[in-house]
């Protein structure tokens, strides 16, 4: 049993106690009401309180389904809506009586129904230890990957059996004309997309066998993306954009503990990328080069083993582009960062250790 599991167990235990208290209070109120001969109201209260365990059960059922994303979402939504609706229907039955009792029963049942949701939300995404990986195995491996898109009635076969293997510490450039499927390959490798046929193996694990939540976790912790158009969140500041992956990696409980650490890491990264004086700025106040550096900082936030860069200089002037490329090279050289970069510019590709050509959906 690892530490995360034990925290989970502790949390579940605490929540169970909290739930029992709320539930008991609800029943107490219901019994009091029944004694005061308000039987109809008491029945409602009891029904609302008893609905708690059912919804709790539904929540944990969803959790036990290995946190299958949409099922979990559905259960959660159902629970919230059911309780909200119950509250709306129960309340009129209480009208004219003590508001305190109304509130106690309604809040109690809402809390009971929301407990599993809150519990899972507070815990944040599940994390597991990485399986031990032999040193000689490739970090990322694509085996005969096929991918096609429906384009109107026609089907566009973009990847036609691409096989690629990247070892830890490598800087690989995928060179290809625009529309050759470079980005698609990168998305498949980064688990943003799934191949139609073939395998994508990351750290020795076949991605096809992973539950959606596991894929989210790998995207969060193992992979960092840099996009051609930076893709920063316009509502967030530079610092907040950078910290987003760290937030995605923890729930509010973990965040309370780790936020200082994350803040320090983000500030350090941004300073290293020369953005130390831009922390509070919003993306639209930055130049293209600066935005791309923020995007790189964001990609590196969770110390990913793999950095996937999609035409990182495509939208920049040559000077800024050169700086970004230099940055990537330094990252690769100094910290042994594995980088896969796709580009159509041969001069850029030359910065990499290895160049593979993607032509007609195949690697040459």
């Amino acid at each position: 049993m690892n530490d995360v599991d034990s925290i989970l167990l502790l949390m579940v235990g605490l929540l169970a106690i909290a739930f029992l208290i709320v539930w008991g209070l609800g029943i107490f109120v219901a019994v009091r009401l029944a004694r005061r001969q308000q039987r109809a109201v008491a029945r409602w209260a009891l029904a609302a309180v008893l609905a708690g365990p059912v919804l709790l059960g539904a929540g944990y059922l969803a959790y036990s389904l290995r946190r299958g994303v949409l099922r979990y979402l559905a259960a959660q939504l159902l629970a919230i809506l059911a309780v909200a609706a119950a509250a709306v229907f129960v309340l009129p039955a209480f009208m004219g009586r003590s508001l305190l009792i109304d509130l106690a029963v309604v809040l109690g049942s809402v809390a009971a129904a929301l407990l599993p949701t809150i519990a899972l939300g507070l815990l944040g995404p599940a994390s597991r230890r990485r399986p031990a990986q032999p040193a000689d195995r490739p970090l990322v491996e694509a085996v005969k990957v096929h991918k096609s898109y429906a384009l109107g009635r026609r089907s566009l076969h973009v990847l036609r059996g691409v096989s690629l293997s990247v070892k830890a510490g490598e800087f690989v450039a995928v060179l290809g004309a625009s529309g050759s499927g470079k980005s698609t390959l990168l998305h498949v490798l980064g688990l943003l997309d799934s191949p139609d046929r073939g395998k994508v193996i990351i750290e020795g694990i076949d991605s096809a066998a992973l539950a959606p939540a596991e894929r989210d976790r790998i995207r969060c912790r193992t992979i960092g993306f840099v996009f051609q158009l930076y893709h920063l969140q316009p509502e967030l500041t530079v610092l907040e954009n950078t910290m987003l992956p760290a937030m995605a990696a923890t729930g509010p409980l973990g965040w309370a503990r780790r936020s200082n650490e994350a803040l320090a890491r983000a500030v350090e990264l941004l300073e290293r990328l020369g953005l130390g004086d831009r922390l509070g700025h919003r993306p639209k106040e930055l130049s293209g080069g600066e935005q791309q550096r923020v995007a790189i900082a964001r990609a590196l936030m969770n110390r990913p083993r793999i950095l996937l860069a999609d035409e990182p200089t495509g939208n920049l002037d040559s000077r800024s582009g050169g700086q970004i490329l230099q940055l990537l090279k330094e990252l690769n050289r100094d910290s042994g960062q594995t980088i896969i970069m796709v580009t159509h510019d041969e001069s850029l590709a030359r910065a990499a250790d290895r160049i593979v050509h993607l032509r007609d959906g195949r690697l040459k």
Binding site: V69, L73, H187, D193, D216, R221, M247, W255
Partner: protein, 666 residues
């Protein structure tokens, strides 16, 4: 953590959401205002309606009425109202300086049954009693004592009163106890008070020309005040706690003077308006209405003087009479006696005896009107005379054999219950008088000696103690009263009631009246609820737009490790938060509006000249302005749910987006 964080950031920096927020705020405020005003209106109607006749009503379905009502009331309250003619038998002074009085009266079988449960008492029995002591027409004091009934059914009441010797009348034979209540048992623990009432119909005639049909309501005033909150609606005697058909003349005079002032103020205000906006018709009506109260004040003054003069003359007369016989001036005594009789007659002509007084319902068509500012102006005032004609329809008489009974009454007050339908039709007269006019009093069959039909009323109104006065508890009390009535009816048969009697709660009795208002409230609430669904649609549209604007950002959230459920939660949370903020704004705005609805309405009226809440039409002077906290809770819950529902489809759309496509989205 990213969900909460992004949710809050979007809330702060997505300006599109503010429109959704305002929509929610508007809907919440609208529903809150409508529900609060309608609820308040309903509550006011209910309170007024409840004040009409207590919590439980025993209703005779036929005009033949309920007999032995005092005896039935005794089973409810434990107190029997003894209506017998007592005469002073003995008067002595105790050592403590109090007067000790013994009164005797002839008792009836009915009294015996009510007191000891059998028409033939075997031995003497005594009960605690309370009564009001009168000297002629003057009320002296409330006294406590003991009532004894002998085997021959003779009643004697022994009581003590601390009275200054000069207050005791010279003519001790005029001493008599009235409204004697005898405690015969415990009664029902839940019942606080009960009173018999007669409802009948008649013609009301004011002056030479004005005649209208009215409901005539016979009440025992002090008892009725304990059952309903009639007193708060009285014009002359409101808030005095001892309203009766004999209000002091000085009080009538003062109220009429105040009324005159109010009319003059209204008149001045109306005349001060610019010529174009002046209501000439209203000014004319106000000018005409001034005459009545002024007349009333003069009459009251005259009466007060007459009474003072009468007192002086009576003093002189008694002084003359107490002189030694040789010094008495017989001529003077004669003249004084004559003058006293004349004055007394004149007083009686102006202000009729207490059983010939009437309280009019305020709002009987044509007898009063309301100005647009909400003042009530009376065109018929206290001390005027009215004539009532009644058809005595009790005891199964046929209309062909009935001839109307007519009597003249002096108005002493007017009453408003707040329920227009009642006020506009009802006049109140003393119970025993109406009973006589309707020929519902005790009746002996001339052909069959010994057969006595008891006096009857048409309704018994019961006030229930506070903890039992509503909901299930009240229904249980009703069932108890029903059982008591069944037992009573079984015991006395047609003497109790010759036709069916209904025992119901005030709500049941008024269901036809309150029901439509309740339905109207529900209807309006549902309508506004449906209109407020617009906010759900607006949230849906706005959130769909936001989601479509943020496709690439959603792709990035997925790329940095956010789950599909997480994305959905961000937008759901955003929706709920938008609704919550909007709801908070709406609640504050709504509460503010409802709280200050009357000044706001005044301001609107002042600006535009039109009144939304027309005081000439509505029952209440003010728009209800109370907000029920539970209504706020329901509306808040509803608003947040509507935010969630509105954001649901956009959120699911965002969650099910393919991340790779989202990232590529231009």
């Amino acid at each position: 953590m990213y969900k909460l964080f992004l949710c809050l950031r979007y809330l702060r920096r997505r300006y599109l959401a503010i429109i959704a927020m305002l929509a929610v705020a508007l809907c919440v405020a609208m529903v809150l205002i409508v529900v609060s005003v309608m609820d308040g209106f309903l509550r006011k109607v209910e309170t007024s309606a409840k004040g009409l006749f207590g919590e439980i009503v025993v209703d005779a379905s036929s005009l033949s009425g309920i007999g032995r009502y005092d005896q039935f009331i005794a089973t409810l309250t434990g107190e029997y109202r003894l209506s017998a003619k007592f005469e002073l038998a003995d008067l002595s002074r105790t050592d403590q300086g109090a007067w000790r009085m013994t009164f005797r009266a002839k008792g009836s079988y009915a009294h015996a049954e009510a007191l000891v449960g059998t028409p033939q008492p075997k031995r003497e029995a005594s009960f605690p009693a309370r009564a009001t002591l009168y000297a002629g027409r003057h009320r002296l004091a409330d006294v406590r004592g003991e009532l004894t009934i002998r085997p021959n059914r003779q009643l004697s009441l022994l009581c003590q009163a601390k009275l200054a010797p000069e207050r005791l009348p010279k003519d001790t034979a005029s001493l008599r106890p009235e409204v004697v209540y005898v405690r015969v048992g415990e009664g029902m623990a839940e019942v606080q008070a009960a009173t018999p009432v007669i409802y009948s119909y008649g013609l009301l005639r004011v002056g030479q020309t004005y005649t209208t049909t009215v409901q005539v309501c016979g009440i025992r005033l002090p008892e009725r005040l304990a059952v309903t909150d009639m007193e708060s609606g009285l014009f002359v005697q409101a808030g005095r706690g001892d309203a009766s058909f004999e209000p002091p003349l000085e009080l009538i005079r003062r109220r009429m003077e105040e009324h005159l002032q109010a009319i003059r103020t209204a008149l001045r205000r109306e005349q001060a308006r610019p010529a174009g906006r002046r209501d000439e018709d209203l000014i004319e009506r106000l000018q005409r209405s001034q005459m009545r109260p002024a007349w009333s004040v003069r009459v009251a003054d005259g009466c007060i003087q007459l009474r003072k003069r009468l007192e002086e003359l009576t003093g002189e007369l008694s002084a003359e009479k107490t002189k030694p016989p040789q010094r008495r001036d017989k001529q003077r005594i004669e003249a004084l006696t004559k003058e006293c009789t004349r004055l007394r007659d004149e007083l009686d002509r102006i202000l009729r005896p207490p059983d010939s007084r009437v309280i009019l319902g305020l709002g009987i068509a044509g007898l009063s009107f309301r100005t647009p500012a909400g003042e009530t102006v009376r065109s018929v005032v206290p001390l005027q005379d009215v004539v009532l004609s009644l058809l005595p329809m009790a005891r199964g008489r046929l209309p062909t054999t009935v001839s109307p009974n007519t009597a003249t009454f002096t108005i002493v007050d007017d009453a408003s219950t707040g329920v227009y339908t009642f006020d506009s039709k009802t006049v109140y007269v003393p119970f025993e008088r109406l009973q006589a006019l309707c020929e519902m009093d005790e009746w002996r069959d001339a052909d069959k000696p010994g057969v006595v039909d008891p006096a009857r009323c048409t309704q018994i109104q019961i006030k229930v103690k506070e903890p039992f006065a509503s909901g299930e508890a009240l229904r249980r009390v009703r069932a108890k009263v029903r059982r008591a009535w069944r037992d009573f009816e079984r015991a006395y048969g047609p003497q109790a009631a010759s036709a069916g009697v209904i025992v119901h709660t005030w709500r049941e009795k008024l269901s036809k009246f309150i029901g439509p208002i309740q339905k109207q409230r529900t209807l309006v609430t549902i309508m506004f609820g449906i209109i407020s669904l617009v906010s759900v649609l607006l949230i849906f549209a706005i959130f769909y737009m936001i989601v479509m604007q943020k496709v690439r950002d959603i792709g990035v959230i997925r790329a940095v490790g956010g789950s599909a459920a997480g994305v959905a939660q961000i937008f759901l949370g955003f929706g709920a938060a938008t609704a919550a903020v909007g709801c908070a704004l709406g609640l504050v705005a709504g509460c503010f509006f409802v709280r200050y609805i009357n000044p706001i309405e005044d301001a609107i009226a002042g600006l535009t000249g039109t009144r939304i809440w027309d005081r000439e039409v509505f029952l209440f002077e003010e728009i209800p302005n109370q907000v029920e906290p539970s209504v706020m809770v329901v509306i808040a819950a509803w608003a947040i749910v509507s935010g969630l529902v509105g954001a649901l489809i956009p959120a699911v759309r965002a969650a099910t987006m393919e991340p790779a496509e989202a990232v590529r989205y231009e």
